[in-house]
Symmetry: D2
Subunit: 335 residues, 4 copies
């Protein structure tokens, strides 16, 4: 399967490398990147034959079946529309957009064109979270009562990045909103947000927060809570717990090794993996496999367009809740 | 030190036994209990020489230095007032009362009499939570950003008990409100409550909930979240986590043994201790030791009258938040 | 049940305290101790009414049903013989003796008198090891193939103690030999010992070793290995593992708390309990309960005279193996 | 760097794939394999341009700098000699041979030719074991007193394989002998072996055992113990522990995920990884990286020819010990 890569920045390069090395039968035929000079060497090493600044070269190439949209967020919706019209199957990085209208337009184009669209919520393919979902699905946890998600980054991104990030809820928590839906197997109905600037006042000056606790009400009656921090000095903290009528399932962080040193001072072990590349590498491989598989076998992709829309709605509700200091229903932000 | 026991129900008997067997130099001289016939055999076995239905026998006994108030909640405030007037040092089970005015009256009596008052928040003396507090106090966690408390009972109490319990927040979560103050080393400023009836509709008919997530804002800027359930089928679930600028400290549940069985089906170990007696037994000993020590050495007890008042305020705010579906400041319930 | 205590040194006092505080219906009526002045205060605090230097006062007291023999090892066999003749049931600290002939004589006296004898292998009553034994007994581990025991003390005892200890195998490993029989549910057939002086040359000068690996062959075909050290600076190290045809069961050490601190330097937790009092306290209670229960209900005690003999045989074989640098069969030391 | 692959069976294919996908700057130019038809498709997929039945095509190709010897054990020594004479750097799978004379001849050829030789003891590059070694090397464990290695396969290999395997000690335990040297940072002086046939009588009929405990004496005074089983039904069991004067370091198994399910029946988690591919995949990548790095930078490879010889000596001593039922010194098998 020939695939086109649109946007060869950090995440685009990651996808291209994993696809090349880990997914037999799929290859990047063409990569489109505005800053073409910066990626020439990289593309060569990866045996990507065609490099272009114009993504139309991909959309017009009838040999290319699918595209990976890894460009900046503000281009996602438009690229989905054009790719759909060109009849390409689409893997698009999250979020689709911050604007509900634009997201819906994009999803409509996909529907009309009858192509497949998968959104890049890679954590659904993580070995730990997938196992928890399986335990929920199998009924071993019983009816879901409480979903708990801890999600903390090792260090805040540069302020320049934060300025265009859409804020913590649409940039960082959006993954957790997806995870909450994935683990509860339900939709979110209402959100209440508590946020604070405890790490860097510069983040506050942007009108953003760096620490937050978000509580959720699900349509199936369950409740959820997410806690976020932009700075966990011990590394990437990614844990979940689902509590239900038959018990609870949880996962701890992944560690570089399991060595424990027992000394007169105490028991010491390594801290968790530092960040998402170490922790989630294999989940990116798995999501690409699932996408290639869905295209090859003409199946519904495991993360749909609606799965791209919902977390944005929850994020906008979270933002509104923070500003208005009250719980906000999802339907309030849809109108 | 001669001590009088007022109320020899389940918790009163527990205190008396632990005091007798584990605290050298202290003894129960007299026990007052309305249902005197039901405790005669027990008192004999424990070598408690005097048994009475009239607690005045304790308050009028000049040899008795201190009392343990273990009667029903509605009698606590009045007994504190009388015991203080009689010049007895007081250990009183939580909560002091559900009425703020009555609590303040009781605390005033204590102040005027110059006696010591310790409230029975035993979990502060638990080996696990105390260690987390030490790590916070020592600065090893850094500035506190997030406090997380999981507190789930193995099974709901009888409906008859629930009817007079004051509701989940004043009966069960009150321990967690104390723990939140203990671990954050700060006061709570605002509360938001999400609650649901997911276990037993009969609980809902009482106007109570059986599952809840409560978020907290502390005066020092930190945030907190407590999750409660009246029914964790795997046993008593009592975990805490404190996250701060230098890392996080957490504890897991205690287990009856550490055996793990590795088989072709997976790795299996025992579930946590079933309930509070198994889990917290030694914490009750430690709190009594601290009380006896405070009296003997004329020191401030480690859990003061104000420590008895604050969790009730938070509980009332939590209840108001649930009913009004909005965050509630503590000062709103004080007025 | 009235009980007599013979020998009120460290272990005798421990037994007396646990019996008094934890075992309803049993009490120490009389304690015999040569250094009577040193224990007077202790006996008074514990409400032991009679204190004597002459253990005959116990043996001649028809009200006393059972004795706890906690005197020095060289007196055990003789005291068992006399107590049996006096018709007292006997709880005797390990080891019975280092001399096989004397042990057999003692066991014969017990048999003739028809009294009960329980040997103080307390670790069989430990919550962790008992659970592993249950898993073996229930067949969940399958046929036993390998038994592994790690047993390390926090620090060597004083040289004066070591001089009369009988050497590491009869003093320290003897507990592990009992554990090996307990967990394998089989007898030991052959022993091979590797030993070294790695901690203190003074131990070597006594002809003893401070570090050892002992391998065992069991009659049921299984194999075992014990590793010992006189100095584990992180605390008391007491772990076992049983591997069989259906999997393996193991236990880890017990810790004072389960707190973990995650920081930029790593994850740090407390070291294991320091020594046997912290780790095994409740196992001593359980063994006394079992003894009192066996006497009261006229049942076979759970640790018999033969259970006292076998570990001494294995210990003597281990010593012979170390000296002759070859595997030694148990039958070689019986002759 | 152009590399030749000699032997494209299971392990040869694994090395070729890992080299291709994970080691930038190195590639398999030619693969030699007798059963050439069976590997044609595989070689094509991997873009290996030249496939041959004659390994001379590799040795005679001046563009090829290094070879990976992955053929059957009985060809290793001869291929090392020929490759060395051809001036190729050599990565050779373990064991070099079972015959000490042939090993020494091979090592001499390497020395004379001045080429590099690395032996495929991949476990040294495992994230867990490498960390333990680092802790030992850094002095954090102190002087090494006891090394413990648990090494159990999930299921016995086919009897046909076992017939030519050289027996459990040279086929399976050889990895553990290498690990013992790696972790103790010392040579083995003496071996005592206990073995039994507890899994499959057919293994016994070959004169082999399927379960073993091997104790080791090291030249630095430390002791070691290895326990082996051909059948751990819960999966691949690979744990080590190093105990020393300052404490101990250990590692547990790796698991497919960290999910724990807490229910009324207990706490259940997944069993360890099934076998070496799941567990050791990344260690194979790391060993190849180290080899390519040693060749590229003209450094001593991290696993030398002597590291290939020593475990064979220990294995032969272990076999002799089993047969003669006594401890055997390494020097006894050298003669």
């Amino acid at each position: 399967m020939k695939i086109g890569l649109i946007g060869a920045g950090r995440i685009g390069q990651l996808h291209a490398e994993l696809l090349t090395y880990h997914i037999p039968g799929a290859e990047i035929k063409t990569a489109a990147e505005i800053y073409i000079d910066e990626v020439k060497e990289w593309a060569e090493q990866l045996n990507i034959l065609n490099l272009t600044t114009d993504y139309s070269d991909i959309l017009n190439d009838s040999e290319i079946e699918a595209v990976l949209i890894c460009s900046s967020t503000d281009t996602h919706a438009q690229l989905i529309i054009e790719a759909a019209k060109a009849g390409k199957h689409i893997f698009c990085e999250k979020p689709i957009d911050f604007n509900i209208g634009k997201i819906k337009q994009a999803l409509n184009s996909v529907k009309e064109a009858g192509v497949k669209l998968q959104i890049g919520f890679n954590r659904r393919f993580d070995h730990n979270f997938r196992k928890v979902r399986e335990l929920v699905e199998s009924g071993k946890v019983g009816d879901v009562h409480i979903v708990k998600i801890t999600s903390r980054d090792p260090a805040p991104p540069p302020i320049e990045y934060l300025k265009v990030s859409g804020g913590i809820f649409l940039d960082m928590t959006i993954h957790d909103f997806d995870m909450a839906r994935y683990l509860s197997i339900s939709e979110v109905e209402e959100v209440y947000t508590q946020g604070a600037v405890l790490i860097d006042p510069a983040i506050g000056e942007l009108g953003d927060v760096d620490t937050a606790i978000i509580t959720l009400k699900f349509k199936n009656g369950a409740m959820g809570v997410i806690d976020n921090s932009r700075q966990a000095v011990y590394g990437y903290d990614q844990r979940v717990e689902v509590f239900g009528s038959k018990g609870y399932a949880d996962v701890k962080n992944d560690f570089p090794n399991s060595a424990k040193l027992n000394t007169a001072e105490g028991v010491i072990s390594d801290k968790p993996h530092y960040f998402f590349l170490e922790r989630y590498k294999m989940s990116y491989v798995e999501e690409l496999k699932a996408f290639v598989d869905a295209v090859a076998k003409d199946k519904e992709p495991p993360v749909t367009g609606n799965d791209g829309l919902q977390p944005v709605l929850i994020g906008l509700a979270a933002l509104k809740s923070l500003k208005e200091k009250k719980p906000v229903k999802i339907e309030e932000v849809i109108k």
